[in-house]
Amino acid sequence: MAALPFEIWIAIRLTIALAALTTVILLIVGTPIAWWLARSRAWWKEGVATIVAMPLVLPPTVLGFYLLVALGPSGPGGIVAELWGARTLAFTFGGLVIGSVAYSLPFVVQPIRNSFEAMGTRPLEAAATLRASPRRAFWTVAVPLARPGFFTGAVLGFAHTVGEFGIVLMIGGSIPGKTKVLSVAIYDYVETMQWREASILSGGMAAFAFAVILTMTLIEKRVGRVGG
């Protein structure tokens, strides 16, 4: 591994930073959405759930296209970028975070929602009879009970962001250290026929994916056994 070019380490660091930040934001943004989806009785609730789930089905090129326009000077991204004198959020780390959050949202919201739904209303009712405020009940009862959902959501959100390619390719501009993530680096190596680098990185990604899915399955099994 020591023989890997320096640029690869930059890409690895960038990819981890992107996935980690995206996961943190997704947990913060996704939890209230998941809570609302699990509890609300609004008739349009499933409409919102569908919008959240859409990145599962949409080609990344659709999101990439919308983002390219939305992040640019004639979209909201350009207005935000103007605050610090830039013209666009495309080609920035922040732009990639925005894209990744949209792209990985369903992977985080779905498992957390399922956990909230699975616990039913009784634990919270019990907490209420013990005079816990709704907020306290949420933090001391609902969140701990939904831990497996949070765990699955965080792992999936992280892994899915690491595996993201199409959107980054479309809005990133391949800037080393800022937007050139691992998947794009692999693409470049393949296109320029640097098979050695491409196969080392691809092998690493395959091992990573295997480890993530296996770990999750094993942990879910254990949690299931403890819970049941």
């Binding site: 666009t88 501009g173 296109e191």
Partner: protein, 253 residues
């Protein structure tokens, strides 16, 4: 019952379409460097009108296309944006040796959607922009030419932090088109058809000529339509189209 009959009719119609396509006009697949996209479409249309054969075009950077060819992509012809890859195709046994020729000589242009931004080399040295779009120099000759130009002007080191890369020239163009980059190095062919924005045609002494070669691939040997396409590409109709898009024609070929 009615549904079954309708389904059968649909299947029959679909089969007829498939077979009909194979009647006498042949179909070939051509890998086209992205800068040549618009010209290739026009040429394919003219080719179809003249011969009845259909050239199905696939676009990408020369690097992308070449990698696919080495992995047995179903192309019969490569229209590259450089000479190296067609040469390499012959050396590596994918291309037919004596079929290679220069079909166009590309020109690099600095382009902006803003009608007042680009005037000449001073636009670059002024640095009055945040993002300069080019295409991936490792994959695409126009990207390499852009880097050469910046180096010839001794501006590469100062402008390097502002460079954003598209995977091929189409994406480099699109970054400028959407306004995400104020300006970018694109192919003259991409902006030859209009007067939008502002542009500076980069003088030839700042970068090595972009000689774009084509090569017949081994998969196209004995394929009448593929051979016809190569001949058509050398002919006056195709040349007129190529020149219309701002390319120069190689006097020697």
């Amino acid at each position: 019952m009615r549904a079954v009959k309708m389904l059968a009719a649909a299947v029959a119609l679909f089969a007829a379409c498939l077979l009909g396509g194979q009647a006498d006009a042949a179909q070939i697949n051509v890998a086209v460097a992205a800068n040549f996209t618009d010209a290739a479409k026009d040429i394919a249309a003219a080719f179809r009108q003249k011969t009845g054969h259909e050239a199905v075009l696939s676009f990408g950077s020369s690097g992308q296309l070449y990698t696919q060819i080495t992995k047995a992509a179903p192309f019969q012809i490569l229209l590259s944006a450089d000479q190296d890859r067609p040469k390499k195709a012959v050396e590596d046994g994918f291309g037919v040796a004596d079929s290679r020729f220069t079909y166009a000589i590309g020109k690099l242009v600095l382009w902006s959607k803003n009608p007042d931004l680009v005037t000449n080399a001073d636009t670059l040295s002024s640095g009055a922009f945040t993002k300069l779009s080019i295409c991936n120099p490792a994959n695409a000759p126009y990207g390499a030419a852009a880097i050469q130009t910046l180096k010839s002007l001794s501006l590469y080191d100062t402008l390097q932090p502002k460079i954003v890369q598209g995977q091929d020239i189409t994406q480099a163009f699109q970054f400028v088109q959407t306004g995400n980059a104020e300006l970018g190095f694109v192919a003259l062919s991409q902006v030859a058809g209009n007067n939008d924005g502002s542009r500076w045609i980069v003088p030839q002494n700042l970068y090595a000529p972009i000689r774009q070669d084509t090569v017949l691939l081994k998969t196209g040997v004995g394929n009448e339509a593929a051979v016809a396409f190569m001949a058509f590409l050398k002919g006056p109709e195709a040349r007129a189209i190529i020149e219309k898009y701002g390319y120069a024609i190689d006097a020697g070929s």
